[in-house]
Point group: C2
Chain length 415, copies 2
């Protein structure tokens, strides 16, 4: 039935129907989607996408970590491949567009190109990347990083999910035998093109239909620990306190204002904060909070960090308190292909599509490819900026504009 | 053995030994003391104190909620009683001085007066109050409030400890039958005199040996809830955020600075703070924090609250966020007897005792009595300000000075 239904959907060619169909694999009670790497729902989805591609001219194959490819060979193939796609995995109870839309859009764009122009000059492959989110294992971009060679099977050693199942064992359960592993890395990828939902509110706010991503931000994450002195809230006069909460409050206010001051594209987020002992009538002795910093220029991140941590240090000394800063994530910014960005802008102008250049504040597979080959990332609007939620939604018109633009880009690159 | 030992201790009359002896009832593995209202350790301690008093001239009796009295009748008794003492209960793993020192000091002071001067003119009663801390049941000052008539047995209806044992059932288990309850309220209490450890660092810091308390602060406690918008930390530019954490940080910085500005004796404490969803890469949608405000003048508390809540309101409107303020405790400040305070200062001067007038930032039974009769509260230093901890400590010299001063006060009042 599934295949019959899918054949019918393919014949009708309605984007919305195909997205709903893919969302049926791993659908949750809340109307969301959960497809964790190598889980049964994930496997069903990858096999369904393969089946879908198999109904067409595409030659399908999996690599040894579970990335799925659908190949349309180029008539003037020079050993160079234009790769386009996104990721099949989701967060827990995520939406039906994050990743999935990019796969479906790439597939539909290539189908439309083939139907109109026949075989391309350069080989195009549609990819359904096995993993990007890091929702099951503490590891992100397992799919794309295996393709670029940044990861080898050995990177999975010792990696377990929250139930203690190892990544290697999970691979095996999904039918990808680590004993027969051959490196998934590719040297033929000349270009990567991805389309994705924005996962932010900028396009909708600006009433634009398309985002041409110029950079994917770099990210640093820190944990800041403030050690003060736990004291009686009634008997300790204000000047004698070493209050970790009010000190944290000052630092967070400072770092927030400084972020706005340093660069309007810089974001700094304190998302997690815990207080000890966390009792109403006790001056807190300890606060720990996280700091997530993102910008598309490494120098700006560096300048910002230096400014705030200098103030942290000054305050620690003046209050005789201990403030420690510990970095646990450092991802460099990646630029997307500038020249192609301009071309896309021109195409959009001709088509009267309202677009803007923008920076991606979220991580994407495009940043992994972007460090090894010219890469393009396009965004379609996310309604209210909601993502990683069953409420994730993009209107059909915007989905179609995205596919249309992706088709034009692939035409430029491969025909 | 216990009685034999206690008789010996009484004969030796060493304050330190008597304090250690009382701390043996409910002693914890950490060297602390746990005597929760109506628990076996609490009952043992009250019976031991009764036994101790029974070895002397004092006439002992319990009232129907478990306050223990040791009465020294006045030769010119006019139906007026000078009551002196403190509370027998402790917090969990508390120290050996909090409450217990006040009972022992009152007992020893009265013994010394009797040994030197015989019977007083006015009746003196030493009281070991059954409860002050509120550590077992969500109710404080159960002992003193029953004596002043602020509480009746009916106030205990529906009150349970964390194991679901009702206060009334616990009373029964400790041998105080609610069915035979007669109101514990007294109309003969002309004066209350309490000595207590400071539980703060002020006396030690000022190198003073005695604190004459002029006021016990009023307290208000609030819970403040900030509702913002949970968003992606990467894709939401700073100006588009409704970040509950940075808003809380601003408010806490503001209220802390404002507290210092309004009055140097005002204290404002945010001791408890919880963030939702509390994830590093998500802009927090909600923060809830408590605010504990204390000062000895109701007008100052009122002025301060009005200043900060006006700013909270202004900010909520300007950020289009919801900030709600909910009050869950409001205790009025209580003045101690000013005239007696002056007399004590003169006595201390004569004895070359280094003293200071001060405000109690912590609650004490004296505030309950202070609202119905002239009341005196004296403090001895707490080493490093540590209290509610096995590390609570006051040196013997300071303990003795306290007893000496209490003796002088009771002489003034009753002889």
């Amino acid at each position: 039935m599934a295949i019959q239904e899918m054949k019918q959907l393919l014949q009708n060619g309605r984007t919305g129907d195909l997205i709903e169909w893919l969302a049926s694999f791993g659908r949750t009670d809340h109307g969301g989607v959960t497809r964790l790497l190598y889980s049964p729902a994930w496997k069903e989805a990858q096999l369904a996408v393969k089946e879908m591609m198999d109904q067409t001219v595409l030659d399908t194959y999996f690599d040894s970590v579970g990335n799925l490819f659908g190949r349309l060979p180029g008539s003037e193939a020079m050993g160079e491949t234009i790769l386009t796609g996104s990721h099949i995995d989701t967060v827990i109870d995520g939406g039906k567009y994050d990743g999935a839309y990019g796969i479906m859009a790439s597939f539909l764009a290539v189908m439309r190109l083939y139907q109109t122009y026949g075989l391309p000059k350069k080989t195009i492959e549609v990819v359904s990347l096995c993993e990007e989110e890091g929702s099951r294992f503490p590891l992100t971009f397992w799919g794309s990083r295996n393709i670029t060679g940044a990861y080898h099977l050995s990177a999975a050693q010792g990696i377990q999910d929250s139930n203690g199942v190892s990544l290697v064992e999970a691979m095996k359960q999904a039918g990808f035998d680590p004993d027969n592993y051959t490196p998934a890395s590719r040297r033929d990828i000349a270009r990567f093109v991805e389309i994705h939902i924005e996962q932010g509110i900028v396009l909708e706010k600006e009433q634009n239909q398309l985002g041409i991503v110029t950079h994917i931000v770099g990210q640093r994450r820190y944990t800041i620990t403030i050690i003060g002195e736990s004291n009686h809230a009634g008997t300790t006069p204000m000047p004698l306190r070493k209050d970790a909460v009010s000190t944290a409050a000052y630092l967070i206010s400072f770092l927030t204002e400084k972020a706005k001051e340093v660069d309007r594209k810089l974001v700094a987020t304190v998302g997690k904060l815990n207080v000890q002992p966390n009792v109403p009538n006790v001056v807190a002795g300890e606060v720990e909070f996280t700091l997530d910093i993102r910008h598309h220029e490494e120098a700006v991140i560096g300048h910002y960090c230096s400014a705030i941590f200098t103030e942290f240090q000054r305050l620690a000394e003046s209050l005789h308190m201990e403030i420690t800063v510990s970095k646990w994530l450092d991802v460099k910014p990646v630029a997307m292909d500038q020249e192609m960005g301009k071309v896309i802008g021109e195409i959009a102008n001709k088509k009267s599509i309202r677009y803007q250049e923008m920076i991606s504040g979220a991580g994407h597979d495009a940043q992994v490819f972007g460090s090894v080959c010219p890469t393009t990332l396009l965004f379609v609007p996310s309604h209210q900026g909601i993502s990683h939620s069953p409420k994730e939604w993009t209107c059909l018109e915007d989905l179609e504009i995205g596919i249309d633009m992706l088709t034009a880009v692939l035409y430029q690159l491969a025909y």
